[in-house]
Symmetry: D2
């Protein structure tokens, strides 16, 4: 039970940093709303949308990194069908990221 | 002056819809923070990050669409160096989007 | 007729450079096949796949740039429904690029 | 030595399919050159560029999947610094893919 708890939150050591990054991304998205309200020039808004998208992408890559280094690694070390399943699941998540 | 005002906010007709979409994206990013706080499984967070990224991408494409249909089109109809500049600027924004 | 001919090949002035870039991309994809045949390490192949993808992306952005600067600009200068259709078509192509 | 050989080509079981896909991608890139030579309409070329990019992306995801399932899994099963290094290397490759 505890093993599972530890295993499934690969990002436990980076929690604070991830939340900080998400708060900044939230601020960027709120800033976008103000820009639209204020009739900011389209291109300037687009630049800010790209910045917010990149911030989320950085969070995704950090989560994935932690997931491979902990959850997938732990499952693989234990072996068996659960390990294969973890690898398949990670691959599917990577495919969604690459295609989004 | 008025012409410029009208020209530079290509998204004026979609303002309400864009803000609605940004509010939803903001909600998704706030939801992500809760998921991290609650030790939600990494893969489930990643799925939600992809959803938020896609929401921002949709906003970007809508802004760009409006920008081409109004700002760029108006500048091109007037011709001259300003038209070339608008096209170059739009191309650079598209490149940033494609590469982000 | 001639106007249409000129209009629809926005990239006419960059043709040689585009073909050169595509030939290089073709060489990269052929190089990838050799790497796979030779059992090259996965990560090194992935680096080369990213390079080939970026080469194609650069071609796409150049074509789009030329398309906006010539085909779309010409249609917009003439105005009417054809202009709107060109802008819509360009927006759809941009959306495909951003999402691919 | 043999173990290393087997370990580093995670895609060994999919070699034929990957080469087939790369040959198809090569054909698409050659087709693009013909389209440009023949003054094909920009938007139709762009559609084909997106198809070629997607074909390469599929190859990348397959290579990555095999790499995680074999090379990374084997290294993790053996443990130690080599395992950490393999995970870091895979994460960096994923980041390149997501950002390309």
């Amino acid at each position: 039970m505890m093993a599972h708890e530890t295993a499934h939150v690969g990002y436990v050591g980076d929690k604070e940093q991830i939340i900080k990054r998400l708060k900044r991304a939230e601020g960027q998205v709120r800033g976008l709303q103000r820009m639209v309200e204020d009739d900011t020039y389209c291109i300037d808004i687009l630049t800010q949308v790209s910045a917010a998208t990149k911030a989320l992408e950085t969070v995704a890559l950090q989560l994935l990194d932690d997931h491979l280094a902990h959850c997938v690694a732990d499952a693989v070390a234990q072996g068996g069908a659960a390990a294969d399943e973890k690898v398949r699941e990670a691959s599917a998540a990577i495919a969604r990221l690459v295609r989004s």
